[in-house]
């Protein structure tokens, strides 16, 4: 199946991917050493790593023959932007609702 691009929320919705991020938050690791922490097959782990890489949560650096995974901030920033957006969003919408309701009383 073609690897589809997931957004930040979908990426971290998966427990295995969260665990990969957790492991990488301690130190950068090779794909092989990450795979050792999971029951699933190495290709399955690779697939999760690819998802994390595509979404900007990690970067992969080739050092010699090994592929090293390192945490990257971009993916986390996207999550943060969404929440900031919604907080601001509801704040301004509710202000408007309050104004409408106030008008309604004054018109009586």
């Amino acid at each position: 199946m073609e690897q589809q691009r997931l957004d930040a929320f979908q990426v971290i919705a998966d427990p295995s991917r969260r665990q990969i991020l957790f492991l990488l938050s301690k130190d950068s690791r090779t794909i092989n050493s990450l795979a050792e922490n999971f029951e699933m097959s190495r290709p399955a782990v690779s697939k999760h790593i690819k998802v994390l890489n595509n979404a900007g949560f990690i970067s992969i650096e080739d050092i010699g023959r090994e592929r090293h995974c390192v945490l990257k901030q971009d993916g986390f920033n996207q999550l943060h932007e969404w929440l900031a957006y919604y907080d601001n969003f509801w704040g301004s919408k509710l202000q408007k609702l309050g104004d409408l309701l106030k008008d309604r009383i004054e018109k009586k």
């Binding site: 922490n37 999971f38 999550l79 408007k96």
Partner: protein, 149 residues
């Protein structure tokens, strides 16, 4: 999943009036956005605004009425995405309580999949891997238990 966004407001209007503004599509459009809401359990509706490519949003909130108790509470799903068929999930809950000749209105926007730890990311420019560690543990306490390491 933890509550993410919560507002508590008081309006000097009776619950009947506030309820109208939460459940009548034309009135909702006055303060929220264009929509085709109907106050029917299970009803699917859309709320539309302008697309925001910066945050990968196609401008459409895909919603469904999850619970409705007239004059008291209303809950709908609030899904959004980049427009390629993939959607983020979240839920919006409204609760009305009569209070001092007015209405206490509570809004909770919750259930952002996996996002309960976002606020921990603010100011993470230094030492942020440590914070990620902490919050991944918070949302998923079994993390270490499932690891063979």
């Amino acid at each position: 999943m933890a509550k993410i966004i919560k507002y508590d407001l008081f309006f000097p209007n009776p619950p009947e009036v506030v309820w109208e503004y939460l459940t009548d599509a034309d009135l909702i459009a006055l303060w929220l956005m264009k929509n085709n809401f109907k106050p029917i359990l299970g009803y699917e509706f859309q709320v539309t605004t302008k697309p925001m490519p910066d945050i990968q949003f196609d401008g459409i909130f895909y919603c469904k009425v999850l619970a409705i108790e007239p004059l008291k509470s209303l809950s709908y799903s609030w899904h959004f995405g980049p427009g390629d068929g993939t959607l983020n999930t979240s839920v919006v809950d409204w609760t009305l309580t009569p209070l001092n000749n007015g209405t206490q209105l509570e809004l909770i926007h919750r259930g952002f999949e996996g996002a309960s730890f976002i606020d921990l990311f603010t100011g993470m420019s230094t030492g942020w891997p440590k914070q990620i560690q902490k919050l991944l543990l918070t949302i998923n306490p079994e993390t270490d238990g499932t690891a063979k390491a």
